[in-house]
Amino acid sequence: MKAAVVIFPGSNRERDVCAALYRATGHEPVQVWHRDSTLPPADLIVLPGGFAYGDYLRCGAMAAHSPLMREVRAQADRGTPVLGICNGFQILTEAGMLPGALLPNRSLRFTCRDIHLRVENNQTIFTCGYDAGQTIGVPVAHHDGNYTADPDTLDRLEGEELIAFRYCGADGALSDEENFNGSAHAIAGILNNSRTVLGLMPHPENATDPLLGGTDGQALFTGLVGALK
């Protein structure tokens, strides 16, 4: 699997996701600078975490209009899988490639900690490394991760099983407390209609090394390798 990681000015988790991809694939992904007009051929496009363009205006708003994003959208339309993590998820919603928006956390504070996710749909290239309903532990690190969408969109996400991950407790149970950022339907990650674009707020790439607090994120990357080989 060849992955291309898009670097915007202000991206800052590209190292983390590149390390996770390296562990899963055995080779370094290509890093693509935002001003490049073309994407190299890739099996997977990754929009990493960070603060693209300083997140000025709104998180992801300026990056969504970056020239390279037109190319990302064109590739996605042709079926190339796109993974947006954290700021990458925010960019995908701002670009209209995923529905809804990410508001400030209900605490109004940046939050970095381990949380639990329930795998809601394992019938996708991104989640096929997990069991349906499996609970995994991964960290979050964001200020604006409170997912919102209009009721029709939420109904559609639920009905068409486009919710990939939800925030939950260690036992997999949903609760208001575990939904720490206040997301609608405790949504942590969603898919587009064709299930080839995934946006999620948590950082599976920061849970891929046993020395660094767990490996529950690894199956997302190894699952992709298996699905896309």
Binding site: P9, R13, D16, G49, G50, Y53, G54, C112, P139, L212
Partner: protein
């Protein structure tokens, strides 16, 4: 050149120069300075930039060692960690600005210390923050704490450098002067370290980064005076940070540093373009000529005075090799940053500034630097308080006391703070905040241990003991995760040095730091002094913060404080005499701040620490924690809470009062969890290390003989609840 006619001793005094200093400036120039020159003298000779009160004492600190590549005097210290790698680090205060405008003050403190590190060619890999606030009951404390934490997070999270540790304490002496000390740690190659010494007359002087505005003018002067009633009127002297620009500046500088274009580089921190150009020229024994019309400006109509004194953030000054400008410009333009050749190096030894074609200032750099005032200010040591006799303190229910201690502002969990910091970005955080030291991976199995420490209540009661204790606790915290302590950076926060009793605190603390550094082979490689932390005559507690860096050769043989296995033994290393003077127990339970702080036996400290490190590296220690605030029982509770396991303590020794044994703050002690206590006790005895089996891991409670038990989960919930509860109160 004109403009000198309005400059006189009164105007100079308004710039913070006393009469003799003004006369010295006149003598150096051979004429009265003009306003721009007066501004340059005033910032260069401010306490903040010149270290005029502290210099003679700082010179007495040990600064070298076999691993030290660069000690104090550069932007940051550099220490060899093997394999061609070097760790580059420094701590710096942003106290005065953070009190006036907490978010921006703290944010720009982080920005400034990051620049000090990447200026030297290092990629920043960790930030730590040592914070001191006023009493929790003071009406401004919540606002200041919320703002400072948001500012640190806002900046560090955006630049993508993990904030992995630090401290946060409260005391009414900080009501009018909070402390925000930020430490940055970076990683470089030993053969790619960049310095600030200008060289090569004719070489271009280049300005990169953000544009210059009118913000922060006189920031260095503000940081060199006491606050009066008008602190809030100084808000215009606080700079505004832009972490996005800083992130671009880091990437652009590190990209340029891959080649050999840079002769010298210096960030524009306090006193901006003035100090950066003067320091580069001064170190090279050369002159610099600047055309201020070429400086990228944010606003129109800025005068030479304003351009030279602006403390706008995210700017760098570089001397480049001739002919490399085009390549350098390409890199900075790629990162959408300003790049301007604003002058050149000269052999005249003068700083010459031109604006609109006319000379705006002409100062000989040598005398400006070497003839800067240095003071041996009068000082006196206060008489030490008498020692406290533990037998004179009443006996109380120890588990109730424990509960009060772990829910005190001093010991309550600081999770509310560090969860607002991205402590995981870069994907190398092994030990996260909340333990003895953060551990950051720098190779496959190589790692650095990082911690900041100071016990100000000890320093107030006995500055020398307190200074030594801060160094020893830092060394101990690094040791407790299995690291070899390498070197430290110090942030000396004190009141007004013109008061002999404050200067005496400074002198005593330096003496204590020196003794401990020498005994532990733990040199000072960088640091910062912040004086005049005083409002309307009330000084802060003396707070010499020590930022320590240690090396872990194999992090599979490192540890943390969490208890891990039921049935394991807990062994106490070190001598317990039940020292309660200046203890947290005395303050929180008895309501007294009295007595002398514990003496650090530096020989025993080293012996005990070397033993503990050896046990960790041999794989015999399952968990380890140093004993500090609150003594033995607090340390046990912290290990229990971190691991979610109970401990059953053995009967207490009969030769000490119960509270002295459980809460005394004797130094040089550790707790180790081990599966094989007999072997460890024999090894300790062979090395002359005091060691004693004190209990067994297991269950869900802390159980004391004849004093009942307390649920670890309940204790943890209470420990975690204090700070969020406090911050939620309107």
């Amino acid at each position: 050149m004109n403009g000198g006619s309005n400059v006189n001793p009164v105007l100079a005094a308004g710039h913070g120069l006393i009469e003799e200093e003004f006369e010295r400036a006149v003598a150096i120039l051979g004429r009265t300075p003009n306003l721009t020159e007066l501004g340059i003298f005033s910032v260069m000779w401010s306490e903040h930039c010149s270290y005029k009160s502290s210099k003679i004492w700082l010179r007495t600190l040990p600064t070298s060692g076999p691993r030290v590549i660069c000690g104090p005097g550069e932007n940051a210290g550099v220490v060899d960690i093997g394999d061609g790698d070097a760790v580059v680090f420094k701590i710096e205060s942003h106290n005065h600005p953070s009190f006036i405008e907490p978010y921006q003050g703290a944010a720009t403190g982080v920005g400034g210390i990051l620049r000090d590190v990447f200026t030297m060619g290092a990629r920043p890999i960790a930030i730590l923050d040592s914070l001191r606030f006023g009493s929790p009951n003071h009406p401004r404390t919540r606002h200041l704490l919320a703002g400072v934490v948001a500012g640190i997070g806002g900046y560090g999270n955006c630049v993508g450098v993990p904030t992995v540790g630090g401290e946060c304490e409260f005391d009414s002496s900080y009501d009018g002067n909070i402390l925000v000390n930020a430490m940055c740690v970076g990683l470089a190659r030993t053969d790619r370290i960049f310095y600030s010494t200008a060289a090569g007359p004719g070489n271009p002087v280049v300005y990169v980064g953000a544009k210059t505005g009118r913000d922060g003018i006189h920031g260095a002067t503000m940081a060199s005076a006491e606050f009066g009633a008008d602190a809030s009127e100084r808000r215009p002297t606080v700079q505004v940070g832009d972490p996005f620009t800083e992130k671009l500046l880091i990437e652009a500088c590190l990209e340029l540093m891959q080649g050999d274009a840079i002769v010298a580089i210096q960030d524009m921190g306090a006193a901006g373009l003035t100090s950066s150009s003067v320091e580069m020229a001064g170190k090279g024994g050369l002159g610099i000529e600047l055309d201020l019309d070429q400086v990228p400006l944010r606003e129109t109509g800025m005068t030479a005075y304003e351009i030279m004194l602006s403390e706008s953030q995210e700017r760098m000054l570089m001397v480049l090799r001739p002919g490399s400008e085009t390549e350098a410009r390409r890199i900075f333009e790629k990162w959408e940053l300003d790049f301007a050749v604003i002058g050149h190096v000269t052999d005249t030894g003068h700083l010459v500034l031109r604006i609109n074609g006319a000379v705006a200032a002409d100062i000989p750099v040598g005398p400006l630097v070497t003839e800067a005032p240095v003071y041996e200010r009068p000082w006196r040591h206060a008489d030490p308080e008498p020692e406290i006799d533990p037998a004179a303190i009443p006996d109380r229910d120890p588990l109730h006391s424990l509960e009060r201690l772990v829910t005190s502002a001093a010991l309550a969990s600081k999770r509310w703070i560090w969860e607002q910091y991205d402590h995981l970005v870069m994907g190398n955080t092994v030990n996260r905040p909340g333990g003895d030291a953060a551990v950051i991976r720098v190779g496959e199995y190589k790692a650095l241990a990082l911690a900041t420490d100071c016990t100000p209540r000890y320093c107030r009661a006995d500055p020398m003991r307190g200074g030594a204790q801060a160094v020893a606790e830092s060394w101990r915290n690094l040791t407790a995760v299995g690291a070899e302590p390498l070197a430290l950076t110090d942030n000396m926060n004190f009141g007004n040095p013109e008061r002999p009793e404050i200067m005496g605190q400074f002198v005593g603390a330096v003496e204590g730091i020196r003794d401990a550094c020498l005994a532990l082979d733990y040199p000072v490689v960088s640091g910062n002094v912040s004086l005049y932390n005083q409002t309307r005559g009330n000084a802060i507690q003396p707070t010499p913060v020590i930022g320590g860096v240690g090396l872990i050769a194999d992090l599979r043989r490192a540890t943390d404080l969490a208890l891990k296995q039921d049935g394991d033994a807990l062994i106490l290393i070190g001598q317990t005499q039940g020292h309660l003077g200046c203890s947290l127990y005395l303050r929180e339970i008895e309501g007294r701040e009295a007595g002398r702080p514990p003496l650090v036996d530096l020989v025993g400290e080293r012996r005990n620490g070397d033993f503990v490190r050896g046990q960790i590296r041999a794989g015999h220690a399952v968990a380890c924690h140093d004993l500090a605030d609150g003594g033995l029982l607090v340390a046990i509770a912290e290990m229990a809470m971190a691991g979610g396991r109970g401990v059953v303590l053995d009967p207490l020794p009969a030769d000490l009062p119960r509270h002295a044994w459980l809460f005394g703050e004797d130094q040089g002690r550790y707790l180790i969890e081990t599966a094989d206590p007999a072997v460890m006790l024999v090894a300790a005895q062979a090395q002359g290390v005091p060691a004693r089996l004190i209990g067994v891991v297991g269950g869900v409670a802390l159980t004391l003989p004849d004093a009942g038990a307390i649920s670890v989960n309940a204790l943890k919930a209470a420990n975690e609840a204090w700070l969020p509860g406090y911050m939620a109160q309107a």
